[in-house]
């Protein structure tokens, strides 16, 4: 152990990581909002009695759940523009890859939540004259979403970690900035340790919060 830790260069260049962190938070917000809301729609379609809705939703879920996110990002960055002629920058490629993947995963979470509601709830909705959509919106979803809240939070945590993959196509986020710092100052050990600590410090309270949430919901159920 001859290495002497020296975080001075990291602290001097804190704004480099700060820019990265802002990039991370930005892409996280965009992907998590797109992913969790798109997932809800796909999850509902997946559960729908009409095959015209459920089959495409199922195909979507299977494709995006069963391919690695990095492959999706790279595909959107290099292959998609050739196919469509649409210009794709690193941000768009990462957003497409991460949010489509998140939609697929969260769709399954929503579906499991809807399925966990006892059939009596649907019948009660029907009995007071509600349509399928009304029952779903007013009776089923509020309870279902509450039940899957811990699973959704976990997904959110995964999305936050996934945002580092955007660095592979050179989107400016925390890890990408750390690469820059490491190259500039020849101190990869401090740079990458700093990134690991940043993620840990941000996510650890969230993870603990999820445990608390799980316990609270279990009690209330």
């Amino acid at each position: 152990m001859s290495h002497t830790w020296d975080f001075a260069t990291i602290i001097q260049n804190w704004y480099v990581l700060w820019i990265g962190l802002k990039g991370t938070v930005f892409i996280f917000l965009v992907t998590v909002i797109l992913g969790l809301s798109g997932g809800l729609i796909i999850g509902i379609c997946r559960y729908a009695p009409s095959r015209a809705l459920s089959w495409p939703a199922m195909a979507f879920v299977e494709v995006f759940r069963n391919t690695p996110v990095l492959v999706q990002i790279i595909w959107f960055y290099y292959a998609f523009p050739i196919l469509t002629g649409i210009d794709v920058d690193p941000f768009l490629a990462a957003v497409l890859g991460i949010s489509l993947n998140t939609m697929a995963f969260s769709a399954e979470i929503y579906r499991a939540g809807i399925q966990s509601i006892e059939p009596g709830q649907w019948e009660a909705g029907k009995a007071i004259g509600m349509t399928y959509n009304q029952s779903l919106r007013r009776v089923i979803l509020p309870v279902a979403i509450k039940r899957v809240l811990p699973a959704l939070t976990n997904r959110g945590i995964e999305v936050f970690k996934m945002s580092t993959l955007a660095s592979v196509v050179a989107y400016v986020e925390t890890l990408n900035q750390a690469n820059l710092l490491a190259d500039l100052n020849f101190n990869p050990i401090e740079a990458y340790t700093a990134v690991a600590v940043i993620f840990f410090v941000v996510l650890y309270p969230v993870v603990q919060g999820t445990y608390v949430l799980e316990r609270v919901l279990k009690k209330g159920d």
Binding site: S2, H3, I74, A79, I82, L175, A182, P188, I189, V207
Partner: protein, 225 residues
């Protein structure tokens, strides 16, 4: 209109097959080391000796909350500075994914062990079994059966995560794809084929795990997530 041309891809298909093999190799090695390590972490976390339990909890939470790509970079670029080892992409990949997945396996083990009725420990204790004997003979055989679905799901996640090793230039399927795309100037075909290869591989594993889960459900076994 785009013209698809797969000739370039398939004439160098053996490159992709080598990548696929390396992907499977990294996954298998990470499982080989990660599962026993996960058991050790889980038992440590369940230990009544608080310093051990606390340390294990910290390691587990740290590796669960930091992005795997950051861990990989850390092991590849930073670790060799800290200790004097010659780091190769292969070693960095195996070390990273073994430890990273062990943190997740630890939580699966812990869930499995905790799901076993307290009476099983008591039954074993009452016939004179030590903690070790109870764990090995009575608790783990039951816990492992319940853990299988979660275990398979995690293994599939691991397989997907191994794509990250391409960023430190280990020749897995993703890396070979990048290589081939540059060589052939056919990124559309190369990445599409590679995406399909991953899809088929992972889809088959997923279906297998669903099948096993159904079997277990039929045999009346409850499972833990």
């Amino acid at each position: 209109m785009v013209e698809w041309n797969f000739i370039a891809v398939f004439s160098d298909f053996d490159l992709l097959l080598i990548g696929l093999l390396n992907t499977l190799k990294i996954t298998a090695l990470a499982l080989l080391f990660g599962v026993p390590l996960g058991l050790v972490f889980a038992l440590s976390r369940l230990s009544k000796f608080l310093p051990l339990s606390f340390t294990a909890a910290f390691i587990i939470e740290f590796f669960r909350t930091t992005p795997p790509l950051v861990q990989l970079f850390w092991f590849f670029f930073a670790l060799p500075i800290l200790i004097d080892v010659r780091m190769t992409p292969f070693i960095a990949a195996v070390v990273t994914f073994s430890i990273q997945s062990s943190a997740f396996f630890a939580e699966i083990f812990r869930g499995g062990i905790q799901s076993i009725d307290k009476g099983q420990w008591e039954g074993a204790k009452a016939i004179g079994m030590s903690y070790r004997q109870s764990l090995i003979r009575i608790i783990l055989p039951q816990a492992v059966k319940r853990m299988i679905p979660a275990f398979m799901e995690r293994s599939i996640e691991l397989l997907k995560t191994t794509t990250l090793v391409s960023t430190v230039a280990y020749a897995d399927l993703m890396f070979q794809a990048n290589d081939l795309a540059q060589k052939t100037f056919r990124p559309l075909e190369v990445y599409t084929v590679v995406a399909l290869m991953y899809f088929v591989l992972i889809f088959v594993f997923s279906q297998m795990s669903i099948l096993v889960e159904k079997r277990l459900a039929q045999s009346g076994e409850s499972t833990v997530r």
